[in-house]
Amino acid sequence: MTKLRQTPSQTVGPYFAYGLSPEQYGYQHGLTSIAGHDMAAGDVEGQQIRIEGRVFDGAGNVISDALIEVWQADALGRYAHPADPRGSNSNFKGFGRCGTGTDPQNRFWFDTIKPGAPEAGQAPHLSVIVTMRGMLLHAFTRIYFSDEASANAADKVLNAVPAERRNTLIATKRDGNVYRFDIHMQGDNETVFFDA
């Protein structure tokens, strides 16, 4: 059977902000944002956390025009999507989007809730899409949590990653409920990206 070819990807370019995250970037007319960095607004159950970090290029420079998107389960590990048979009865949508162009340090950040483990053999994590000017197609990665050591040790995805690179997927707990997750596009500490 003849299949249609997938439409090729092209770069998001430097000017995605007013199309994809107009409110974060302060555009006063036109569109509202469908998603942003404040994922836990409203009546959402779970432990409130912040995940923040910066994106570095192969020369070690901070990237100020990256777009980070995250997708996660709710505090009980359920996804707000029809393919999750358990459904999610919380008000938590699970999707966040943040550009690195508005924070003075060019951080991205997500105020969210800590996800539960979605299924056996998987530790709590967020799925991540990284894209920017200079990327012709987006990259997939994941964010795990440094205070979930035993669950991480049993995670089938982490275990498929060479041991010396696993730390690139683990957000480090800092003061309070803040986790730090830097993304290195290249270099000795290049973040693990997936063929997903």
Binding site: K3, L4, R5, T7, S9, F16, Y18, G19, I34
Partner: protein
């Protein structure tokens, strides 16, 4: 057996690092990608439907008006969102953004010396109907220079962003216009393998063209489909 999402068509996609596009060598991943099993985290994804679209979101000739109509050539951009088997993908959100008729983005960091149009914002979105169809009314975007190399100009284009049915079907791409002489000079367009490049070029359509009002361009979009294969345990 379960449905799994088909792999990315790597042979039809641009590479991460394309030296002619000079931002890529320091930004694209260089280590081999690690295969990721398709778990619940991958086959689910953000759900945005009709509730995400309001008012004039799909009409860029109206959603940025302040004191008059935007300048430039009105166009209709429409098409279908399909999977690789040709099945329509209903209720799929499309987000677009583009330069104005003069080739200027409203984005604060665009310093191109071309006029901002006070009545054109350049962002829009819509959701596909039951047959996977979408339609935007907008202004034909202008070409603009960029600093990639001497006398580099981007062809006229509209940025598209789609989610599709799962996290894996996400697509960010650009739609181009037929017959644009800048296409053969553009490292971003040319980074796409020759065999799939034409999929990025819209087709003029007299059927879509609205008499006495706007030319029509058709742009169909194909997202990763599904196959019946054993699901990762």
């Amino acid at each position: 057996m379960n449905d799994t999402v088909n792999p990315r068509d790597w042979a039809g996609q641009p590479a991460y690092i394309v030296p002619e596009y000079k931002s890529t060598p320091l930004r694209g991943p260089t280590k081999p990608l690690i295969p990721l099993p398709q778990t619940l985290s991958e086959v689910t994804g953000p759900v945005y439907g009709h509730e995400a679209v309001t008012g004039n979101d799909a009409d860029l000739t109206r959603n940025g008006r302040r004191n008059g109509e935007p300048l430039g050539e009105r166009i209709i951009v429409a098409g279908r969102v399909l999977d690789e088997d040709g099945r329509p993908l209903p209720n799929t959100l499309l987000e677009i953004w583009q330069a104005n008729a003069g080739g200027r983005y409203i984005h604060a960091t665009d310093q191109h010396d071309a006029p901002i149009d006070p009545n054109f914002f350049g962002g829009g979105r819509c959701v596909t109907d039951a047959e996977g169809r979408y339609q935007f009314m907008t202004i034909k975007p202008g070409a603009y220079p960029w600093p990639n190399h001497h006398n580099a100009w981007r062809p006229n284009h509209i940025h598209f962003s789609l989610f599709g049915p799962s996290f894996l079907t996400r697509l960010v791409t650009q739609m181009y216009f037929p017959g644009d002489p800048l296409l053969d000079l553009d490292p971003i367009f040319l980074a796409t393998p020759a065999e799939t490049r034409d999929l990025l070029v819209s087709k003029f359509s007299l059927d879509l063209t609205q008499p006495n009002y706007a030319l029509g361009y058709r742009f169909d979009i194909v997202l990763r489909g599904r196959s019946a294969t054993p699901m990762e345990a």
